[in-house]
Symmetry: C2
Subunit: 262 residues, 2 copies
Amino acid sequence: MNDGRHEILRGGSLRVIGIGPGPADWITPEASRILAGATDLVGYGAYLARLPQQSGQTRHVSGNGAELDRAHGALTLAQNGKQVAVVSGGDPGVFAMAAAVFEAIDHGDPAWRDIDIQILPGVSAMQAAAARLGAPLGHDFCAISLSDNLKPWALVEKRLTAAADGDFVMALYNPASKTRRDQIRAAFALLRRHKAGATPVMFAKSIGRADEHIIVATLKDADPEVADMATLIIIGSSETKLIFRNGRQPYVYTPRGAGRAP
Amino acid sequence: MNDGRHEILRGGSLRVIGIGPGPADWITPEASRILAGATDLVGYGAYLARLPQQSGQTRHVSGNGAELDRAHGALTLAQNGKQVAVVSGGDPGVFAMAAAVFEAIDHGDPAWRDIDIQILPGVSAMQAAAARLGAPLGHDFCAISLSDNLKPWALVEKRLTAAADGDFVMALYNPASKTRRDQIRAAFALLRRHKAGATPVMFAKSIGRADEHIIVATLKDADPEVADMATLIIIGSSETKLIFRNGRQPYVYTPRGAGRAP
């Protein structure tokens, strides 16, 4: 933490950008324009690797999990007069870099509150997954991160239980990694106690990328072991329905209404 | 409902497109390309009015609330060989046209299951609102429509209660219209019974448009009467924080972690 207030050099700015789940086709024109004009790109290596190299632009690559350090570095660059683009996957406001930047500001140099900062929205993983499936998020839904790196597991369980009680569709982010496997098993065990076995469960992996893969299952039969860091899981509500098609993946949708005849 | 199966003419397709909350700057390149190549645009008049006129392209304008009729019309056009773009505000998968299209398919001509259909994701209102505020959706959140046009109000109350019990951030869609005012009052009365008075409450109106306006308040002091059809409301969790700045709107963010020291 830095308690001193340092001068803000003129011309510096910080933009937190979402480049969507994969293809350039899902990057907004606003984000592309800001990326092209930035002096410095700051981000996780896998995200920066998706963007074309540009002469005169400096890249500051950091590892996954170093979000707060990355935010500090980006704010310091902007304070020193750089036009900084912090590059996030998906939407920067949804389980991504925007929150880390504001955490850094909240606990950092008070002068950082005067930096010219904007967040640029993007397409998040759950939206891309939903688009490929049909319209599973067509009605009330929750987005929950299954990672307990920064919160107690009891809070994840409390939220999964509340989401089941409220009969929300659920989008589960960060379900598992190579070494973090217990959470996805515990989450499915909990959901199986609280929801019908016939509830549609969808695993959407690497949507928009070359290894895109979708599995449509039921809560009773789904195998949570298929989930990894590139997987977004959608759990249906009691209203979520499948539309079967000959020889093709069924459509999955949640009607706009509930509890009444259509 | 149509129980007959009619032939699908070759070349027909249906794309359900999200044009975001307002500016062209938030429309994905994918959506723009499909819009440019469509023979027929189908949508609510206010959304179509945002798009440039294009020669040789037919517009099918319908009123707000006619979603299922609009979906039927779009599917029939695609079945007859047209390249149809159904235009939705925001993200078509979030409280928008994608669910209506699949409802129509589920209950309509079985041949509609063979139409070439894709959903194109976009930026939803809650993401644009969040971007303007800071990062209020930075951790677990719910999206709830307060409209009881298609669901019983008791279900809305059940979901608001569950979302409060789970300490989710909430994005409230369709909070009120000129004639539908009771729901927003009842929702705030319920939330005030279940959540702390100091909870941050944000009204984000017409984000990305000329009359964009934001109010940051607390649950105790917020005036729900300011909400209208163009308003997206965000209710904080117990962790949602404000960062105050001299003479400017405070930043609002929800930390990535919870229940532990940062």
